[in-house]
């Protein structure tokens, strides 16, 4: 086994090259049925050792292809049609397959989105990590020692015990740490992270990102990070490249690019995000007109020209060269000087449009217990909640907190436990939607997360809408067509769209169709479960605008479930925070974002990586979300709480009480004390974590787990 990779002949090192990764004018096509479809159109960038570089862009822009191309790990139908890739001076484009494999093993590692798929489910973690070292030629005992060290390095507290576990016995965050540990085994020159935290909860994501940041200081590896979440990129990366249609249109220092974008696309992308705490009542979100060019389209000189408000004739004829803006910033645009012409959307007329009306939906003591194999799993515990007329109630919490169960119970998909109250306009709703009269079905409708799955792919848009109108309104004949046209017009779907099937519509149009369907019977309440998380940022903006307009027109109430606090802040009038099936905090949106908060809310808010780079308290929760089948004693959050008070929190469960007008919380710490503590935390640089005695309490609970 060779120990050093010498350079292949015919691939001279560019003189004075110190880049860990250097991509030069890379072009790549996928061959689909014999036709070459270009995906990358001359991508150029480099990453220095120890530097982290982020690639951002909407789906289909080629960022993942670039990442895979960097290590030449490509689908069989991919062809590099031009350009070169150097890792630490070695030309990847000319390497033979065998050398490539050897080279990747020693010098380049990749971490993918789903850590569960990267680990072998039938083998314990230990042997898998040891194997990562053994393939490098290390003897068994050395590999074992190194494996332990590696797991410690990724901040796994008890590596010996973790090595005895199977992957499925570990949480997603833990799995991703292990995958990262294995990726670092060879001390690679380049570490490619492709959406490493996308499937993880906010608090777990924050700690994995912390880890990536701290590893960056320790190793000399260059990091190439792919993420659709701009906040993730900003919190980790030194430099960033913004991709559009297979080109890097803007590049530079991450903070500088996000704070002062110098390309019309970057600017539009950032403006379409709900940020700086803006709300629906203040301003509509900016949308980018037109749509992303399909993969493999033939494009004019400037790839963004069709959607650019600044475009002139020159943009169609001459490919804009990279303009050097100093400090390593470049932007490929002919009209950088005209960027100030792009003004933000005008403020919305009419102030807060959600003046509080009467109660539309009232939940009192609502519980839902699932029964699984002899165990009862309480998914919702005594939920008291009111949704008022015409307001949006945002529901936040990590996975397993019971958000979706609550939504499904309100919709009548799940039957609540006996005894709880679920009242719509002061009359009790039947537990199951099948038992509810049409009037009640009409009144509560849903917008699903994934329009792909929510729309029958065999039906045309018109049929989908017409059927809902027929079932929910009782209209017949021509009246149905009239209502369908009206709905389509409200959602800006054209007559031609109505004749298409879902797969012929873009993601944004599909979600509009799904929203139109929910509005077919003029509902009182629309439950929206992550309505934009399957969509790209610029599309998300349009959908949020539509939702907000519809609410004003129809006085509909929304129950909005989202993990994206920016979205929640933009759309929600009030926010409820859930943890382990309980409401921990409810209050006006502004109050919840301003604080004082329940410690869980505080941790959640601090965990979100922010595009704006605003400073804030740094709170990293320890432990893992307990199993709902075996909730901790006392306050269910005490096992992870950074403000744990021994002797109180693990003994009695605090009630949900009103701490200030319209703001309820479930915490033993008095609100004034919280206000003081949280102001302090915001000022200090210290990272707050779960105290050890709380984690001990968690261990004790876990051991009593009946499952």
């Amino acid at each position: 086994m060779t120990t050093m990779i010498d350079l292949p002949p015919g691939a001279p090192v560019p003189p004075g090259d110190h880049a860990a990764l250097r991509v030069e004018d890379l072009s790549l096509s996928y061959i689909v049925r014999g036709i070459a479809r270009p995906v990358l159109r001359g991508v150029t960038f480099e990453i220095k050792p120890g530097e982290s570089y982020g690639l951002v862009g909407e789906s289909g822009c080629g960022k993942s292809t670039t990442a895979y191309a960097a290590v030449r790990y490509l689908a069989r139908n991919a062809r590099i049609t031009g350009g070169r890739i150097f890792i630490d001076g070695s030309d990847m484009t000319t390497m033979s397959e065998d050398r490539l494999r050897e080279f990747r093993m020693r010098h380049a590692s990749m971490v993918y989105q789903d850590p569960g798929a990267a680990l072998n489910p039938t083998t314990k973690v230990g042997p898998q990590v040891i194997e990562a070292f053994a393939v490098l030629g290390e003897s068994r005992p050395v590999a074992e020692a190194h494996a332990l060290e590696a797991l410690e390095r990724v901040q796994i507290a008890d590596p010996r015990r973790v090595m005895q576990r199977y992957p499925h016995q570990l949480s997603g965050g833990m799995q991703q740490r292990i995958v990262i540990a294995m990726a670092l085994a060879s001390d690679p020159k380049l570490l490619v992270l492709d959406e490493p935290t996308t499937g993880l909860d906010a608090t777990v994501e924050a700690s994995v990102l912390d880890l990536v940041r701290s590893l960056q200081g320790e190793t000399n590896a260059a990091i190439l990070l792919i993420a659709h979440n701009l906040g993730v990129i900003r919190s980790v990366c030194d430099r960033v490249g913004v991709m559009y249609a297979g080109k890097i249109v803007e590049e530079g220092d991450a903070a500088a690019v996000f704070d002062k974008p110098q390309h019309p696309y970057t600017l539009a992308l950032l403006r379409s995000l709900p940020r700086h705490g803006i709300r629906k009542s203040q301003r509509a979100l900016a949308t980018i007109p037109g749509s992303l060019p399909p993969v493999g389209a033939t494009l004019p000189a400037c790839v963004f020209v069709d959607r650019c408000p600044l475009a002139t004739e020159i943009c169609r004829t001459i490919d804009p060269p990279p303009v050097d803006l100093g400090d390593g910033r470049t932007s490929k645009c002919h009209h950088i000087d005209r960027l100030p012409e792009l003004t933000e959307a005008p403020a919305r007329a009419g102030a807060e449009h959600a003046e509080q009306g009467g109660a539309a939906l009232e939940l009192s003591g609502l519980s839902k217990t699932f029964h699984q194999g002899g165990h009862s799993v309480p998914a919702l515990v005594g939920i008291d909640l009111t949704i008022h007329d015409g307001e949006t109630l945002g529901l936040v919490g990590e996975s397993g907190s019971g958000k979706s169960t609550l939504a499904r119970t309100i919709l009548g998909i799940e039957r609540p436990d006996a005894g709880g109250g679920l009242e719509l306009d002061s009359h009790q709703l039947a537990g199951r939607s099948t038992d509810r009269p049409t009037e009640d079905k009409r009144s509560i409708q849903m917008v699903f997360q994934n329009p792909e799955s929510a729309l029958n792919r065999g039906w045309t848009a018109r049929r989908i809408l017409a059927r809902s109108v027929r079932k929910l309104t009782g209209l017949r004949g021509k009246a149905i067509d009239k209502r369908v046209d009206e709905l389509a017009a409200n959602l800006r779907l054209s007559q031609q769209h109505l004749d298409l099937k879902p797969r012929q519509l873009s993601g944004g149009l599909k979600q509009r169709l799904a929203i139109a369907r929910a509005f077919a019977g003029d509902p009182r309440i629309v439950v929206a479960d992550e309505p934009t998380s399957a969509l790209d940022v610029s599309v998300q903006a349009a959908i949020l605008n539509v939702l907000s307009d519809l609410q004003v027109e129809n006085k509909t109430s929304y129950l909005l479930i989202s993990h994206d606090l920016g979205v929640v802040r933009y759309l929600a009038d009030r926010i409820a925070v859930m943890y382990l099936g309980r409401i921990m905090e409810v209050g006006d949106s502004e109050v919840v974002f301003r604080g004082p908060n329940h410690p869980y809310t505080e941790a959640l808010l601090s965990a979100i990586p922010k595009v704006d780079g605003e400073p804030g308290a740094r709170i990293r929760l320890g432990g893992e979300i307990p199993s709902p089948a075996n909730p901790p004693s006392g306050c269910v959050f005490h096992t992870r709480c950074h403000r744990f008070m021994k002797g109180i929190c693990e003994v009695t469960e605090p009630p949900l009480i009103e701490v200030e007008p319209g703001h309820q919380m479930r915490c033993h710490i008095p609100v004034e004390e919280l206000r003081r503590l949280q102001a302090e935390a915001r000022r200090s640089d210290e990272v707050l974590t779960t105290p050890p005695e709380a984690l001990e309490a968690a261990e004790a609970t876990a051991e009593n787990d009946p499952a």
Binding site: A75, K471, L500, S506
Partner: protein, 305 residues
């Protein structure tokens, strides 16, 4: 660790306002989508070969005696003549032209086998739809029955039934169809199971659709693809089964020139070197089954694209 998602289309770009140009494009796309599928199918060599073979046998079945060189039933000449220019496939033990008989022999099997396959798929699909959709106790009970059926050797059960009921084409169709139903049911059930996970089923319930409506109008059209593939695959197996039953003497009866029957009547003479009356009908069976499988494979890969 394969880079699987490289070409997976993401949510894609969405127009905030729809430019008119996009519309005409997507319209054209729609009408061309089906045509494109057909083009892809027709471009597959496997499909072309399969289709050519099937068309040949179907033409033989329809035109029958009108295109055979000799009378397949009563054209007696010298028996047991090896293949020659006069008799390309030779003659059988009582002097009938083997080529003519093989050509006409496609007729019975091409009526009985498709009917049996169709019956099996109809029954199996209904069963599979119900099992997949209702799950719970309905699925449990039906699944156990289906599994019990699957445990029985098809030929043995068919043989016994035909012996008891007497052999006629109609009985063969029913017996084979019913025996195939559980196999089809399992395929359709799994397709329905993955279909009913999708949110559109939930959405239909939320607007108050009945189970029957969801099953027949929403889910069934979406599982039609696998059902059609299943139909072609079953057709292939049905030819085998029908031929086997004829061979065992409980299917079609003499003087039918059915392939399975011909093999059964002639195979004892193989030992004395008279291979042609056995070989050519056997080849015909094989060619048909292979042709159908080629078609089924092509359909499957085109439909699942």
């Amino acid at each position: 660790m394969e880079p699987t998602s490289i070409l997976a289309p993401g949510p894609g770009g969405q127009p905030a306002e729809l430019p008119a140009a996009d519309l005409s494009a997507s319209r054209a796309q729609r009408s061309s989508a089906r045509r494109e599928r057909l083009t892809v199918l027709v471009k597959r060599p496997a499909f072309l070969v399969g289709a050519a073979v099937m068309i040949f046998w179907i033409v033989c079945a329809i035109l029958g005696e009108r295109i055979t060189p000799y009378d397949p039933y009563n054209g007696f000449s010298l028996g047991r003549q090896p293949p020659s220019l006069e008799h390309l496939f030779g003659t059988d033990r009582i002097g009938r032209d083997v080529l003519s008989r093989v050509m006409v022999g496609s007729r019975d099997v091409l009526i009985v086998a498709p009917l049996a396959a169709l019956l099996g798929v109809l029954l199996g699909t209904s069963l599979g739809l119900v099992m997949g959709f209702y799950r719970g106790i309905v699925d449990d009970v039906l699944s156990r029955i289906v599994e019990a059926f699957l445990a029985l050797p098809v030929i043995l059960v068919a043989l016994l039934t035909l012996v008891v009921l007497g052999s006629s084409s109609i009985v063969v169709v029913f017996v084979v169809g019913i025996l195939f139903a559980p196999i089809v049911a399992r395929t359709v059930r799994s397709a329905v199971l993955s279909e009913r996970q999708l949110d559109y089923v939930e959405a239909a319930r939320l607007r108050g659709e009945s189970g029957l409506y969801i099953l027949s109008r929403e889910i069934f059209p979406n599982v039609l693809g696998p059902t059609i593939v299943e139909l072609t695959v079953r057709f292939g197996y049905a030819i085998f089964t029908v031929a086997t039953l004829s061979f065992l003497g409980v299917g079609l009866q003499p003087p039918s020139p059915d392939w399975g029957l011909s093999v059964s009547q002639e195979y004892t003479n193989m030992i004395s070197g008279i291979w042609w009356p056995t070989f050519f009908p056997a080849l015909a069976i094989a060619s048909t089954v292979i042709a159908i499988n080629l078609i089924a494979d092509s359909l499957q890969s085109v439909l699942s694209e």
